[in-house]
């Protein structure tokens, strides 16, 4: 039980960082943490006690396996996270070019 709660704490850490931090790069890192916590939770949900990895190879006897579907989902979700991070980094670099700062309190041309 404790691992699930720790996972959720990691999720909250990510949200806390994304909301309160003032540095663009720290915000991006917080969002990555958010993604990792969800992936970790997915893998934990797939865990079955006393079972092995779900890969069939030559000459291996078939034993109880952990649920393979969440692992496939996590792979997809990692790809999407890669895209998110690349997009955010590209936007952050462009913002730095325009404003010469990573501090979001100084990036404030839109108001109202």
């Amino acid at each position: 039980m404790i691992v699930y709660i720790l996972c959720f704490v990691l999720f909250l850490v990510g949200i806390y960082g994304a909301i309160t931090k003032r540095d663009l790069i720290k915000i991006i890192l917080s969002i990555s943490i958010l993604g990792y916590s969800v992936n970790l939770l997915f893998i934990l949900f797939a865990y079955r006690s006393e079972s092995i990895y779900p890969i069939l190879s030559k000459g291996k006897e078939i034993l109880p396996m952990v649920d393979p579907l969440p692992q496939a989902l996590v792979l997809t979700s990692i790809v999407i996270e890669l895209g998110t991070t690349a997009m955010l980094v590209a936007l952050a670099v462009r913002l730095f070019e325009k404003y010469k700062t990573f501090d979001i309190t100084q990036i404030r041309r839109l108001k109202g």
């Binding site: 890969i55 190879s57 030559k58 792979l75 790809v79 890669l82 690349a86 980094v89 590209a90 670099v93 462009r94 730095f96 070019e97 010469k100 700062t101 990573f102």
Partner: protein, 147 residues
Amino acid sequence: MHKHEGMTLIVKTVTRISVWMILLYGTYIVFHGHLSPGGGFAGGVIIALALLNVLLAYGRNFVTEWLSIKFLHGLESLAASFFVIIGILGMVYVGYFLGNYLSKGELFNLLSAGTILPLNIVIGIKVGTSLFIVIWFLSELKIDKGE
């Protein structure tokens, strides 16, 4: 040519030898996606990292001459289109999008598992080129020191 660019001679020499091995390993991962862990995405990332190695060691100008970015871009779009076309061929042959119409072969053979192998190859090319292009474009931006 660009002697002053990139890292030291040691790094350049090591990179020159190792990049081909990394590329080969990436290709291996792509081709064995249906037999062992890995597959198109993982192998594609390894391919992109091999190219990134060259970018770091030799600098941006060398890579721009060595690899045509325009060609990589074309390859990426072609691979993406091929993915959809393989899917549509599934509709033609078995009536379902991405349906399997190739022979499933024998278990643990390289040429088995129907359309998974071609799809893996296409994804490997797509991920390898597009990830490298993303890094290449990010390295293009010149950043002056902020306050």
